[in-house]
């Protein structure tokens, strides 16, 4: 597509500026590290890089990353399977919305993280806790985004289909869902971000493995380079996850051109 060509040819310029800014950042970091001269408080970027390489070499970095990612995938699957159909139903049916909305509005302000103590009691430390918290955290953005997406479908599109004699069931699947899909993708992005934030909190407190656990483990050992390595990994994966959902959005909704891209 011509758009892609244009961006590609101008693409190296932003990349250069990106590298330049990051380079400046690392240089400043290195200088401050030298000045403070406390490798526990602020290790040099090189120390962190070395730690990261070591962790990567014995695969510990990837092991924890994989565990956290796995939990997120499971949570998102469960969350979406619950939230999307419910959201569609609530968006389409006034009655259903009136029934479920109060419950949603009561639970929504109580963040997933506030559930951790109770969940710890129910599930104990283990795999189930992070998955529960993450599912809960992702559920609400996806649900609300789906409802909003359904509601935002231009009435006239539905009317147009009705004037063509299309039955209600088909209108839902062939008009409402595609029309709501871009908003759904935005909702999914928010759900992923929310879930990924929750994973760190949940694992920090209540899991025997995963990136959040690793960060805390190494902090207790005062091994700051390792702590930073895992934090960086959290950031990288969060970014990649977002990219992934955006790519999915572009795939599923090539006609959309808003926040989903």
């Amino acid at each position: 597509m011509s758009n892609g060509v244009r961006i590609a040819s101008a693409g190296y310029r932003p990349a250069l500026i990106y590298l330049r800014t990051m380079l400046a950042f690392f240089v400043v970091w290195a200088l401050v590290a030298i000045v403070t001269a406390n490798s526990i408080l602020l290790p040099s970027p090189l120390a962190v890089a070395r730690a990261m390489l070591d962790l990567a070499r014995d695969l510990e970095l990837f092991l924890h990353a994989g565990i956290s990612l796995g939990r997120m995938v499971v949570s998102l699957a469960i969350g979406s399977l619950l939230a999307i159909p419910l959201g569609l139903a609530m968006g389409l049916s006034r009655a259903l919305d009136e029934v479920f909305d109060p419950l949603v509005e009561i639970l929504r302000p109580i963040s997933g993280i506030a559930w951790i103590p109770l969940a710890l009691f129910i599930f104990g430390i283990g795999n189930a806790l992070p998955v529960f918290i993450m599912t809960y955290a992702g559920f609400f953005p996806i649900l609300l985004g789906t409802i909003a997406g359904v509601r935002s479908v231009d009435r006239r599109l539905i009317d147009a289909a009705r004037t063509m004699g299309v039955p209600q069931r088909t209108i839902v699947t062939r008009v409402v869902v595609p029309a709501a899909l871009p908003s759904l993708m935005v909702a999914l992005r928010l759900g992923v971000a929310s879930s990924w934030t929750a994973v760190v909190a949940a694992e920090l407190i209540g899991a025997p493995s995963g990136l959040g656990y690793a960060v805390e483990w190494y902090r207790e050992l005062l091994a700051t380079p390792q702590v930073m390595s895992f934090i960086a990994m959290i950031g990288v994966l969060g970014y990649l996850g977002d990219l992934g959902v955006r790519a999915l959005g572009r795939r599923l909704t090539p006609w959309a051109h808003d926040a989903a891209r």
Binding site: L118, L204, G212, E216, Y239
Partner: protein, 285 residues
């Protein structure tokens, strides 16, 4: 539908009763029915919970009635209000720090392409790193007290504010800037007189989102600090929750805290919305 049936539109035929005249938006249902629907599910769940709890022989099992008494206790003893105030003061401090940095930064990024190009890589690199992931680092640097908590809140609130401010500044209708130019208003002055007011709604959205994020972050930070400092630390509602889990194992009290967290979140959002409305009397309601 059989061929003998009238087409869909005939439902509105005048032969029908007064039902045809009511606006369809409310359906054919009275207020009472809608209220019943609204309260139905929550009350049902509450009743089920109460029944299950009463029937259970586990003394630790939380039950709605016990939750209510626990709430009254915590309020009367002042523990809950104190914890909320402690958490809120940290939230406001962190929020203020974030806003003071993020709003001017966002405005300059939105107004000047060169600033945006150079600063954006840093913002986008750190954005995926959730505030809570920084907490161990913050504890390393500032200990398990208020300092670390405020730092986490500030970090968490920074990103929504800066991102929305940039979007707001960039989203200013170019024609408005052109109009100011044709009136001879110098470029620098247009930042204060055009870009800032035009971006205010977007900044408001950023502040609202940031407040929600900040509140969640403080609960998480206090929870984690409570877990790591072995129930010590300097208070706040998150830490109180952890103590009820790990030490006194008071599930009813945990639930009271959870409800408090939710209520405070709602109130903060409402207050911020009202504040924004007051600040921007020109927005259509």
């Amino acid at each position: 539908m059989s061929a003998a049936e009238p087409p869909q539109g005939a439902n509105c035929a005048p032969a029908g009763g007064s039902a045809a005249a009511k606006p369809r938006a409310w359906g054919d249902h009275t207020i009472a029915v809608r209220v019943a629907r609204g309260l139905g599910l929550p009350l049902l769940l509450l009743a089920l919970w109460q029944a299950w709890g009463s029937a259970s022989h586990n003394p630790r099992m939380p039950v709605p009635t016990h939750v209510v008494t626990a709430a009254v206790d915590l309020l009367r003893s002042g523990e809950l209000p104190l914890a909320i105030v402690q958490s809120l003061s940290r939230v406001f401090a962190g929020f203020a720090v974030a806003a003071v940095i993020a709003i001017p930064l966002g405005l300059s990024m939105g107004a000047f392409r060169s600033v945006e190009r150079n600063v954006d890589p840093l913002v986008e690199s750190f954005r995926p790193i959730a505030a809570i992931a920084i907490l161990p680092l913050a504890i390393l640097w500032l200990g398990t007290g208020t300092g670390a908590a405020v730092m986490i809140v500030a970090y968490a609130a920074f990103f929504p504010i800066v991102i929305n401010t940039v979007a707001g500044a960039k989203g200013v209708n170019a024609t408005l800037l052109r109009a100011a130019a044709t009136m001879g208003v110098p470029r620098l002055r247009t930042i204060r007189t055009v870009i800032v007011p035009a971006a205010l709604p977007a900044i408001g959205v950023g502040l609202r989102i940031a407040m929600g994020v900040a509140w969640t972050a403080i609960v998480a930070a206090e929870l984690a600090v409570g877990a790591k400092a072995g129930g010590g630390g300097s208070g706040g509602i998150g830490q109180m929750m952890f103590v009820f889990y790990a030490y006194s194992i008071e599930l009813n009290r945990i639930i009271v805290c959870m409800i408090a967290v939710g209520l405070v979140a709602l109130v903060l959002d409402r207050l911020l919305r009202i504040g924004m409305r007051l600040l921007m009397p020109w927005t259509a309601p």
